[in-house]
Symmetry: C2
Subunit: 383 residues, 2 copies
Amino acid sequence: MATPGPTYVPQEILLSGAQELIHHRSPHMEEVMKEVNERLPVLFGTTQEVFIMLSSGTGAMEAAVANCFQEKDKVLVVSNGYFGERFADIARVYGIETVEIVSPWGTSVDMHDIEKAYYENLDVKGILVVYSETSTGVTNNVEEIGKFFRDKNVLVVVDAISGLLSHDFQMDAWGVDVALAASHKGFMMPPGLAFAAISKKAWLRLEHINPKTYYFSFKRFKKFYPMSPSSPGVSLIFALRTSIEMLMREGIESCYQRHQMIAEATQKGLEALGFELFVADSKRRSNTVTTAIAPPGLDTSRLIKILSSQYGMTITGGQGEFKGKMLRVGHIGSVDSLDLFTVFGAIELALTDMGLAFTKGSSAAAIQPIMQRGASGVEIIST
Amino acid sequence: MATPGPTYVPQEILLSGAQELIHHRSPHMEEVMKEVNERLPVLFGTTQEVFIMLSSGTGAMEAAVANCFQEKDKVLVVSNGYFGERFADIARVYGIETVEIVSPWGTSVDMHDIEKAYYENLDVKGILVVYSETSTGVTNNVEEIGKFFRDKNVLVVVDAISGLLSHDFQMDAWGVDVALAASHKGFMMPPGLAFAAISKKAWLRLEHINPKTYYFSFKRFKKFYPMSPSSPGVSLIFALRTSIEMLMREGIESCYQRHQMIAEATQKGLEALGFELFVADSKRRSNTVTTAIAPPGLDTSRLIKILSSQYGMTITGGQGEFKGKMLRVGHIGSVDSLDLFTVFGAIELALTDMGLAFTKGSSAAAIQPIMQRGASGVEIIST
């Protein structure tokens, strides 16, 4: 599985999720929740509480929107991919007016466009932005956005679902107000848990809002913290405890540097096979997923089908207008640099099956210097 | 663990949840979802589709409310326990007017009260009712309620979260419009999945409503069916497949007859120890949990503490005014009649620790005739 989530789940995590269950209101569960809740904020770069929801990442996006804003509020939405569009869709369900800042797919939002939109809409109550857009392989500059709005009456809500742990993320230092994450991404877990970290600035607003949701009400989460307001995903929380242990063992910084190295190697491998990287700005390429446009005459839908049926490898393709033209190679979670040899080996075999001409072994050759050098600008990390 | 959910999870289910993950949009996952979706309706007594949500049971309750009703709609809410009250709370979050039909805790709602409330409020759009109230150990007569409203413009929304599989439940035959369930009850699974089955009559209403929720929108679920609109709980769905297999192996009818027998035996055991059954009407006692008031001088909070610390047994007590006075012995899911000897053995040991006088072995003696006879009015079931 080389997709931008769900990811490969290490056996250590799978098995800890298969432990005998305990009651979710027992003293034993309280210990587990306390331990997990103490360690989670570090991963978000915050000293604030992180709530654990039983839902997919979409549920977390809805929770943030429903808790931070009210009907008829106006928000800015950064729209340069599928998940940015989803953020806007969710806001509209709640009767929130959206001002979309659209940039072409494959580009990062321009800070000037955000400033312009803000000064034209001084009554906005928030900005919704996706950190790493898995649909396009782009990251938005959340650090710059957070710092710009820090002293303004605007809440910065960040979908860091696939961005967390694969990129540096400093909620407090950057001025992010609500940071969202999900278990089946950098946490290397099965899907099922979603996370929300909430800043002090956000709480000042939240206290005066009666959210139009019961299940996702942050006020209810706060009331029951560190326990859960309704039945928590006990088995998934066992798995989470192991996931956090593994992440701490590696170190958060090592973790995202490993992701960066693997992303850079993937880029080189795809270029060696004649693909054109979809994200021109090398600084804004996602460490979660590498997107690339196939050389003329290569149907990526067919390639993906052969990879799956002949080699048992799941790689995703482009969505919408990029269907058949784009390849999206995921590398998030429990990915080792050596795994890339498998991924590119399978791709080369499939290209040969398709009768395409290329130099065999060229991708395997292209990824090696990066592995030996490490991610750009950082020390070599042994994974 | 002898609580009304979470329940003991058989190893067969735990381990199937620890299988290597597959991508949630893969052909393999499609097969799994189709198989699960084909078999689920049988458990609900319906031919309609059953949606699988990634949430706790509370999420399912919210989903039903948000999809079936709109702001300013009026609904009847049966209120004779904690979960009925929660239904009303959720409705109010959505700006829905609630007419509560209150009966004392420990009693089932009286059909005359429902009819009266309906004829006084002919503009109601629905009725929200809990099938098995785990807070009080009572079942409401959902069959009678469903049949009364079947030909009226009122949707019957049933929280069957703990009632399904431990009691007979016939959604279509009874005229239930929305039936809700959750994985950590009769399904013998870890918490994490919730279910909603929706009648044709309900769909006629739902089609004209823009629900104020994105994550829980039944329209989105229908659009993606049998797949999930957002990342599903893949590992939990693996577990669900095994759970359904086990339930089919036992047979649905055998399953709830087993629950009934165990409930009746629990009642006898508690009575033998001087407890007074909280639910006077023997026909309306829950097969999920048996509630009983302790004899004078027995502090159930202390009993529960000793059971947990000395004997590792989790049994819950009364909530609210019944704290310290009530015992709630759960027997749902993967419970065998022999398990009751363990439960009552531990209770007797703890009572001795507390220095209370009673005839040792009296509860073990009282439960045996029921086990040998089987549930009242049914054949003996070998489990």
